[in-house]
Amino acid sequence: MEDGRPIFLQIAELLENSILDGTLAEEGQVPSTNELAAFHRINPATAAKGVNKLVDDGTLYKKRGIGMFVSAGARAKLRGRRRDEFARQYVQPLLAEARKLGIDPAELKHMIDTWEETR
């Protein structure tokens, strides 16, 4: 786990990523908090907090006595939320670095447009 952010947020994000890329299907069962704790070598209370965050926001739901499952429609909802964060997380630092290097917006746009071809 990385140092900069609470582990429970990182656990929640890892589960979100698995839902976004389809590793965890909607209506599919999610690993238990004990399994998550053992796999990531973290405190079980912290793993539980990460899972509960996703229960609270409706991404996961609890079947009593069975475990946690991915809610129907969770994937589309997560995708919408992540798109909102995309600009802040990726576009903003991109523009800041470009400015520092004297790359103007037109040149940056050209780099993005032709990136696939130049690889």
């Binding site: 140092d3 952010r5 053992a38 070598r41 973290i42 405190n43 079980p44 912290t46 800041a96």
Partner: protein, 307 residues
């Protein structure tokens, strides 16, 4: 917080004119893993010795399971204390030590003990005198885990243990804690290795309690920013500065504050490089800043940091 297992109020311990513990107060909750951190001589072992009735307090109050621990069978039978460099009567073999431990710990689990003997590759019939330093540490760890005591202390339990054996310890600790929750106090200098396991941090320095905080709450709260002095100054104003180094017009400052994603954005907008400190870095910073012996840098502001 979960039900309280240990309460310590204004605890002070003096050895002659040395003050080992200086007005320490805190409590430990049920079924949690605590990291008891601090430099050598900070007072960690003294604290654990008082909680386990192996030392008398000079002043202050201690309650373990709501009672005074001294010569109190109902309290002591629920405690397991694994000391650094534990010694055993030299005529005992490994299996004798385990048998003796099973007699004094009512919740002893023999199956777990045997599993751990295999995991750590301990020769059960070997005389304890002939065990290597690492094997002796492994024996202590086995006693600590297999006792399944509701309150378990591990005081630097792994002198001489290699990295593989330490990882076995962490994995078995976590697995057994998950199935059989209890209160565990882990005192260690290998902070990076345990930082993901501990739920709560107690940091002691020079006999005083410097931190009593959830481990998660510390994550991201101490940031190191580097860049032009003016930009560092501006960012540092939003928290308590713990350390600063200067190189020409560039500064690097470690700042503690209630930081979130917006602050990360702010640092980047100021053109600063940003790095979050690990728990180990935080402990080093806090215990260096208060002991006064750190190499001083011109212009450094040291602020007293408490909770």
């Amino acid at each position: 917080m979960s039900p309280v297992v240990v309460t310590v109020a204004d605890l002070t311990k003096r050895y002659g004119d040395v003050t080992a513990l200086d007005g320490v107060s805190f409590s430990l909750g049920e079924n949690r893993i605590y990291g008891l951190l601090g430099r050598n001589g900070a007072g960690k072992t003294t604290l654990m010795q008082i909680l386990t009735a192996q030392q008398f307090a000079t002043s202050g109050e201690v309650a373990v399971f709501g009672q005074h621990p001294y010569e109190n069978e109902s309290v002591l039978s629920r405690i397991s204390f694994i000391k650094e460099s534990q010694t055993y009567p030299s005529n005992l073999r490994v299996h004798h030590v385990l048998r003796a431990a099973s007699l004094v710990h009512p919740r002893w689990n023999e199956e777990l003990a045997q599993q751990l003997v295999d995991d750590f590759r301990l020769p059960p019939r070997r005389n304890v005198r002939k065990l290597s330093r690492g094997m002796l540490s492994a024996l202590g760890i086995i006693v600590g885990l297999a006792s399944r005591a509701p309150l378990t202390f591990f005081d630097e339990p792994y002198l001489g243990l290699d990295a593989v054996a330490r990882q076995i310890f962490y994995d078995r600790l976590l697995a057994d804690f998950t199935e059989h929750p209890r209160t565990i106090v882990l005192s260690t200098h290998l902070i990076d290795e345990v930082s993901d396991l501990i739920e709560h941090v107690l940091l002691i320095d020079k006999g005083r309690l410097l931190l009593d905080v959830e481990a998660e709450a510390l994550r991201g709260q101490v940031l190191t920013v580097a860049g032009p002095v003016a930009a560092v100054d501006e960012f540092a104003r939003t928290g308590a500065e713990l350390h600063r180094a200067l190189l020409g017009g560039t500064a690097r400052a470690t700042v503690r504050g209630d930081f979130g994603p917006a602050d990360h954005d702010r640092a980047r907008a100021l053109g600063l490089d940003l790095e979050a400190s690990s728990l180990q870095d935080i402990v080093v910073r806090l215990t260096t800043a208060t002991n006064g012996s750190a190499p001083s840098t011109p212009g450094v502001t040291r602020k007293e940091v408490l909770r």
